[in-house]
């Protein structure tokens, strides 16, 4: 047994040695002996040219050689032999023959700082041809930290073939910055013009560098290039500000859809049924905790299907919140129909009890709800605009919820009943509509939608017992602003508030933006007490 093991080990060792030898002979492959000689024996200019020649050839086969030089494995023996040392043997890079034992007159090939930098650039440039994205990305990053003009052809070649937008952006930037340092005016001009097509913030820095003044003198002596740079700068600026505008509109819409989800349930319970449900925020919280529980169940019993836990969490959040809502309606709220202020106080009491109950069960600390993996990351629209998948998913989700709710209210029998009871309870009742049942179901529906909102919120924010409290004022504002009894109004109000809020935020900071929006709503309601989209008609008040 032992002999077999040792035999196998010996065989493996032999294979490994052979492979190493093979690799070692390959090290010099593809590089002309003259170049290798320059690299080994030339002065620093000749060495630089040799490296440049290797890079210009763009042959990845030269990579091991450059790496070996950088690592100090390449040594000279006498003044005609260049050896790559590996352990106790070496390969003659000019002839490809193995040398063993090592000659006595080995000399280190001295790699000074300049050469080290040149080698680094060269290796990075050659690595750009790799098929592995991570290698290319690392190489592009390396080049960005300072590449010589020699690497330019390799970068340009790689740029032509590169498909990955991130790497491509980095390469283009590196290329331009190398070109900007060029001594040739035409190259600089071309670079400045090319930068005008970019949409990254780093480009702006580069262009500003061109226009910079030092001691009253322009860094860039040529006026033509400077004016071209100004044009490019303007183009980049406008593209950047467009990107920012787009990003802001997106985050506004994203906030708007969150508000919409939070307010949609309220639009049913308050808007249609007239119940002031101060516990609405807590129903959102219950939905978020339902998501948390489902997530934990998946983690414990089906870790393989973890990415799909939301599929179960969505109906669970709806069901739990809807059941809690219906229980509240049956036990407390139905006794208070038509007494809005009392309803307000009683539901506030309910909210306190729900908060404390959750605190007792799950603890006062925030709990961790993890995104499924497909929700991480985002779509990069421009280099400075990334739209996170989680936000996109929530926008889509709220669109679906809104559509379903609209269909439910306008196309189903339950919806018909809800609208009938809203418009004229006594008449609906005498026509045989079971008003009490409809009340319960409608309230359950509104609460369930709150649960869905909680499920969505759990994906982008903290989940804690106080989650609902932070949304209750906002959601009432949305419903009040949009006009009671109006789904469309709720939608416009939510999206409008979201976008306005984000724009004010960029201008004056988050807190002042929030205050401004609240003050705006207070003023707005003075003017249009019935909301933006008041039901037309002559309803008698009081």
């Amino acid at each position: 047994m032992d002999t077999l093991k040792s035999r196998i080990a010996a065989a493996l060792r032999r294979v490994a040695v052979a492979a190493l030898a093979c690799w070692a002979t390959q090290a010099g492959a593809g590089v002309a002996p003259a170049t290798i000689r320059d690299l080994a024996f030339g002065d620093s200019d000749a060495r630089g040219q040799a490296i440049a020649a290797i890079v210009a050839s763009g042959d990845a086969a030269a990579l091991p050689l450059l790496q070996a030089v950088l690592d100090g494995d390449v040594k000279t023996a006498g003044d005609d032999r260049v050896l790559q040392v590996k352990g106790d043997e070496a390969v003659d890079l000019l002839t490809g023959k193995t040398v063993k034992p090592l000659p006595d007159n080995l000399d280190d090939l001295v790699v000074n700082n300049r050469m080290r930098r040149e080698l680094g650039t060269a290796i990075a440039a050659l690595k750009l041809t790799s098929t592995d994205r991570a290698t290319r990305l690392a190489a592009a990053r390396e080049l960005q930290n300072g590449a010589e003009e020699d690497a330019l052809p390799a970068i340009s070649a790689a740029l032509g073939k590169e498909a990955d937008p991130e790497i491509k952006g980095m390469l283009a930037l590196t290329q331009a910055s190398i070109q900007l340092a060029s001594r040739d005016k035409a190259t600089r001009l071309a670079a400045v013009k090319a930068l005008g097509n970019s949409d990254s913030g780093a480009t702006k820095t580069l262009l500003l560098g061109v226009l910079e003044r030092k001691n009253g003198q322009y860094v860039e002596p040529d006026a033509e290039i400077r004016s071209e740079a100004e044009l490019s700068l303007r183009a980049v600026d406008s593209r950047l500000s467009k990107g920012e505008l787009f990003a802001r509109v997106f985050s506004g819409i994203s906030l708007g859809t969150i508000l919409l989800l939070a307010a949609l349930g309220l639009a049913i319970t308050y808007g249609l049924m007239g119940v002031i449900n101060m516990a609405h925020g807590e129903l959102i919280m219950v939905g978020a905790y339902a998501t948390y529980v489902v997530q934990n169940l998946f983690r414990a019993y089906a870790p393989g299907a973890f990415d799909a836990y939301l599929l179960c969490a969505i109906p669970a959040a709806f069901a739990v919140s809807a059941i809690v809502g219906m229980v509240l309606e049956r036990t407390v709220i139905r006794w208070l129909y038509g007494r809005p202020l009392e309803t307000l106080l009683a539901t506030w009491g309910l909210s306190l009890i729900l908060i404390q109950a959750v605190r007792t069960i799950f603890g006062a600390q925030n709990v961790q709800v993890e995104n499924p993996s497909w929700m991480s990351g985002g779509v990069e629209i421009m280099t400075n605009v990334v739209l996170p998948w989680s936000r996109i998913a929530i926008i889509a989700f709220s669109g679906i919820v809104l559509t379903l709710m609209w269909l439910l209210l306008t196309r189903t029998r339950l919806g018909l009943f809800v609208r009938a009871v809203t418009q004229n309870r006594a008449m609906a009742s005498s026509l045989g509509v079971p008003t009490a049942r409809v009340d319960m179901l409608a309230f359950g529906l509104g609460s369930g939608v709150a649960g869905l909102a909680g499920c969505a919120l759990s994906q982008i924010g903290n989940v804690g017992p106080d989650l609902g409290q932070s949304y209750i004022v906002d959601s009432f504002m949305v419903v009040v602003l949009g006009g009671v009894g109006q789904l469309a109004g709720t939608v416009y109000a939510a999206l409008g508030l979201g976008v306005v809020n984000k724009f004010l935020e960029a201008w004056q900071g988050a807190v002042l933006a929030k205050i401004a929006v609240l003050v705006f709503i207070i003023v707005f309601i003075q003017k249009r007490p019935q909301g933006m989209f008041a039901l037309k008609g002559r309803t008698v008040e009081a």
Binding site: V332, L344, S351, I353, F476, M477, L518, I522, A542
Partner: protein, 372 residues
């Protein structure tokens, strides 16, 4: 209907203490005055600590605090119980009065703060070199006292004028008052607003030259608070018994009819709303030196809505009821938070529900029900 209020069917729409016909109510008031203005000071300051009759400083502070809350509940009763307007923003007026007094108290710390600067510690921390303009003159007590009345009063007047002119009522009014106090809370949470941000004002040293922690000063504040409470009780009684009070009750029960009878509800509502805010501000100003801290948490919507439950528990539209309600709820709160802290929210929540469902007239209603 949607007056937003279930009309309380009292004999004449005005309950009995306010009607003023009964002797027992006056006797009770006299006893309360005797206890608060004489028994408490004597038992706290004169009776030695070992004695069974001694009232400890703890109870003086708690009593003073609860009386401030009772004044707020009384103010709430004027606007909600009698006029049918539920404000969910009274915590804001309370806090504004408190902040106005707090500014004076901060100024009287002088250079005894942590940084030994003439500026309050939080301003030193923000690297401010001078007081902002709205802090001018706040080192004078009379000016701070003026602010206590003017700031909540003006805010309430302007806000109320626009709200009542647009005939915002019922739940709408409640919700926008809630938004108002919420917005103010966010504003005061900012450090740059200049009111100490999160931490607010604290570490007071003296008031009008007296040490703020001295037992005599505390007792003086207690007595002043008690006198203010009794005074506001009498003022409230005078108002609700007057013709003005009758119009207010009428607005509560049928605003349209009041309008059709030729009254403009705007000014009636505005008067009682502003008065209620000013009373709250004064309560806040009395509260801050006794409790020793004021921060934006006082403006949270939860605090304001709790005020409503004090009034509801005690019985709306009775003046004395909300005072009792504030005392009962807050004694319960301090008992719960000491012995069963995790159950206090359950108890408070149940209180909200049970009172609205089963006790619409509150504690005062129970007692009245037995009497009649």
């Amino acid at each position: 209907m949607t007056v937003g209020f279930m009309p309380l069917r009292h004999a004449n729409g005005v309950p009995h203490f306010a009607r003023g016909a009964s002797g027992p109510a006056w006797i009770a008031l006299g006893v309360a005055a005797l206890v608060l203005l004489v028994v408490f000071p004597v038992c706290n300051l004169v009776v030695p600590p070992g004695s069974a009759l001694h009232i400890s400083d703890y109870w003086v502070t708690l009593g003073g605090k609860i009386m401030c809350y009772a004044i707020v509940a009384l103010a709430m009763d004027l606007i909600w119980g009698y006029t049918g307007i539920l404000s969910l923003g009274h915590g804001l007026f309370f806090a504004l009065g408190g902040y106005a007094m707090g500014m004076y108290l901060m100024r009287s710390i002088g250079a005894e703060g942590v940084y030994h600067s003439e500026l309050p510690d939080f301003m030193v921390f923000l690297d401010w070199k001078a007081y902002p303009w709205y802090w001018r003159f706040t080192d004078r007590f009379w000016y701070a006292a003026l602010l206590v009345v003017l700031v909540p009063g003006l805010l309430a007047f302007v806000f109320g004028y626009f709200a009542f002119r647009s005939r915002i009522k019922g739940v709408y009014f409640s919700i926008i008052t809630q938004a108002l106090t919420y917005a103010a809370m966010l504003l005061f949470f900012r450090n740059d607003t200049g009111f100490g941000g999160n931490n607010g004002f604290t570490d007071f040293k003296r008031i009008l030259g007296f040490s703020i922690t001295a037992p005599a000063t505390r007792m003086a504040l207690f007595v002043i608070t008690a006198a203010a409470l009794l005074g506001f009780l009498l003022l409230g009684r005078a108002i609700v018994r007057s013709k003005l009070g009758r119009v207010l009750t009428a607005i509560r029960d049928a605003e349209s009819r009041v309008m059709f009878s030729g009254y403009d509800p705007l000014w009636f509502k505005l008067f009682v709303w502003t008065l209620s805010a000013v009373i709250c501000g004064i309560a806040g100003a009395l509260y801050v030196p006794q409790v020793g801290i004021i921060n934006p948490g006082e403006m949270s919507p939860a605090n304001s809505i709790e005020i409503a439950i004090w009034a509801a528990v005690g019985g709306r539209g009775t003046l004395i009821g909300p005072v009792i309600g504030a005392a009962v709820v807050n004694l319960g709160k301090s008992w719960f938070t000491q012995t069963l802290p995790e159950y206090w929210l359950f108890a408070l929540g149940l209180l909200f529900i049970l009172v609205t469902l089963f006790l619409p007239r509150g504690i005062a209603g129970l007692w009245k029900g037995k009497a009649s």
